[in-house]
């Protein structure tokens, strides 16, 4: 169903380093020169001990944070030299985020939350965009809850809204930081299945951080971080 070439490069890291508190006595390097490449077809788990730098890496890839050295290519474009406005635009159009805590905006309804990335980019949503958002909500099993406020949904439902929101722009890359960490196992499996489906359907690369070995075992690829280095990167099955 994807109109994209499954082997198209979505993201590439080249000697990527990230330090915190640069220039201060507490300066610490968290990522020590990473090289990594993701293609559209990839469905990868990012695993590693707590403090190994998984969230840091995800934030850098998602253009939320800047690396200290090295280069990050998104859709073959180098991002280091981009200004803030261009990074924001690229972030909005090419990347979808799902966080551990659902991070919905309470003042808006479920449907409006899903539409938010589109509204931020182009203003008042079109009929077509609203239909797309409704379709996504139906796909994550929330048909009929479009007008609910987030606090009227269960944790699992909220996380599914967040997944729908991350996908509404048809991003090239979906980044998820412990998306199921907060959910019971049934909801966790549902959300995980959603990622799988969207990876196939939209040809959207998925990089998901998880501590759950049952989950990482079901991914096609497992990238293991140990103390800021890629210890292993293996394809499964």
């Amino acid at each position: 169903m994807s109109e994209h070439d499954a082997s198209q490069e979505v993201m590439r890291l080249q000697g990527l380093r990230k330090s915190y508190n640069v220039g201060k006595p507490t300066e610490v390097e968290v990522l020590h020169g990473l090289d990594l490449r993701l293609q559209r077809r990839d469905f990868a788990a990012l695993v590693g001990a707590s403090g190994s730098g998984k969230s840091t890496l995800l934030n850098v890839i998602g253009l939320l944070d800047r690396p200290t050295a090295g280069e990050l290519f998104l859709l073959a474009e180098p991002t280091q030299s981009m200004d803030d406005a261009r990074r924001t635009e690229l972030r909005g159009s090419a990347i979808g985020f799902v966080f551990q805590f659902h991070h919905l905006i309470q003042a808006f309804t479920t449907l409006e939350n899903v539409l938010m990335p589109l509204m931020v980019a182009t203003g008042k949503p079109t009929r077509e965009q609203i239909d797309r958002a409704r379709g996504l909500l139906a796909q994550v099993g929330l048909e009929g809850l479009e007008q609910r406020k987030p606090d009227q949904l269960s944790g699992g439902q909220q996380q599914r809204v967040a997944v729908a929101r991350a996908l509404v722009t048809h991003p090239a890359l979906l980044l998820a930081d412990e998306p199921t960490g907060n959910l019971d196992s049934k909801s966790a499996t549902e959300v995980f299945q959603l990622f799988r489906n969207f990876n196939r359907e939209f040809g959207c690369a998925v990089l998901l951080v998880t501590h759950d070995s049952r989950m990482s075992e079901q991914c096609d690829r497992t990238i293991m971080l140990v103390d800021g280095n890629i210890e292993s990167d293996e394809a499964l099955g």
Binding site: L64, F97, I105, A107, M116, M119, V120
Partner: protein, 400 residues
């Protein structure tokens, strides 16, 4: 702008309690400013109207007579002990021509030549010093509508008729139809008939003014064909000063505006305006600080949501505008509420107040207050909005 507007209004709606409290705060501040401004404006225009009800806006008079002192020859030091000259009653040269020139001046609405000078009024043994005012009635009435202040008889001068003040009538025991002897000095006397009695409410005028036809006053004062003053009114009383200066330039005569004549009053009014403006400025300042602090708290409360919005591609400028719009909306809604409350107070004052004077309701005051409050709202939102825009998305998302 649509999405910024939507987010801003949803945020305001979500924080209902906060929004309501600050709105009430702004409304109270604006109501105070509107009411105070309306009250002081009403009070001052009332005072000015009362003052100008019995005065021309500009008085044109001959220039003062000065001693002419020959300049000393070079090399000679001249010590001069100079007494100012006594100012005798003099006519304005060519006053008919001056009158016609003034008639054509822009901004001037009425011109009235007057001959006025001292005399005695006598009835049997009683003697009062009075001011004879010889007027051209139709012209004079456009300056001071004296016919409205007649308490007895009619306003009619000429053919031996005179109109006198109520106090003078009381002092001399005169009623309408009685005779009054006027003495201009040097055996110039005439007897006039009291045709009407006026009450202007200014004691000095009610006790001294005797209105006559110009001709009769001229002969009593021994200034045949003369006019000593030309009264002028202008369309905007606060332009009187400028018009007076223009008249002086044009005619070489001394032209004094009501502001100069009533310098002390003007000074008092100015001080009053200044203190009102200071109060307004401080109220506005505290309103601005209120808006700024509410929005600052809101930015902190919404740190995580700002982070999410940024992660979804919201730009810094959009984030900035979201909070500027909130500031503007606070200003707009607060000032509308406050403006209405202010007008309510004005209405209450007019209906239930001491009724010493009436406060006119000026709709432009509301427009001005609303505009100013919106600008204030945007300015006060600037600091918190910049904070929101500069938040680092990573930090913001991690925020709990």
């Amino acid at each position: 702008m649509w999405i910024e507007w939507t987010i801003a209004t949803k945020f305001l709606h979500e924080g209902k309690v906060q929004s309501t409290l600050i709105l009430v705060g702004i409304a109270v501040g604006v109501a105070v400013i509107v009411f105070l401004t309306a009250l002081i404006t009403g009070l001052q225009s009332n005072i000015i109207n009362r003052t100008l009800g019995t005065q021309a806006h500009i008085k044109v008079q001959p220039t003062e007579e000065r001693n002419r002192i020959l300049p000393p020859a070079t090399g000679i030091v001249q010590l001069v002990l100079e007494d100012k000259r006594a100012q005798r009653l003099r006519s304005i040269n060519n006053w008919q021509q001056v009158r016609d020139v003034l008639d054509t001046l822009p901004r001037v609405t009425a011109v009235s030549p007057v001959i006025s000078g001292p005399a005695f009024a006598r009835r049997s043994e009683a003697l009062q010093s009075v001011v004879l005012v010889g007027i051209d009635a139709p012209r004079y009435q456009r300056i001071i509508p004296i016919q409205n202040d007649i308490v007895a008889g009619v306003f009619r001068i000429g053919a031996g008729d005179a109109v006198i003040g109520k106090q003078l009538a009381a002092d001399l025991g005169l009623r309408v139809g009685d005779k009054l002897r006027l003495d201009g000095g040097q055996q110039r006397e005439s007897v006039v008939n009291v045709a009407g009695i006026f009450e202007l409410g200014v004691r000095e005028l009610d006790a001294r003014y005797v209105y006559l036809e110009m001709k009769q006053a001229q002969s009593l004062l021994n200034l045949p064909g003369a006019a000593t003053i030309i009264d002028v009114t202008v369309d905007d009383i606060f332009d009187a000063q400028a018009v007076a200066a223009r008249i002086t330039r044009l005619t070489g005569l001394k032209a004094e505006s009501w502001m100069e004549t009533n310098a002390q009053l003007m000074n008092a009014l100015r001080s009053q305006s200044l203190s009102t403006q200071m109060i307004s400025a401080f109220v506005a300042l505290s309103v601005a600080l209120g808006i700024a602090s509410v929005l600052s708290v809101s930015v902190i409360q919404r740190t995580r949501e700002i982070g999410i919005l940024r992660a979804m591609g919201t730009t810094r400028q959009q984030m900035l505008r979201v909070f500027l719009i909130q500031g503007a909306l606070f200003g707009l809604a607060g000032s509308l509420l406050g403006g209405l409350a202010g007008y309510g107070l004005v209405g209450a004052f007019n209906t239930f107040g001491p009724k010493l004077f009436y406060i006119p309701v000026n709709p432009w005051l509301l427009v001005a207050a609303t505009g100013l409050a919106m600008v204030t709202g945007i300015l006060s939102a600037a600091v918190p909005a910049r904070r929101a825009a500069s938040l680092d998305p990573v930090e913001a998302i991690r925020h709990v």
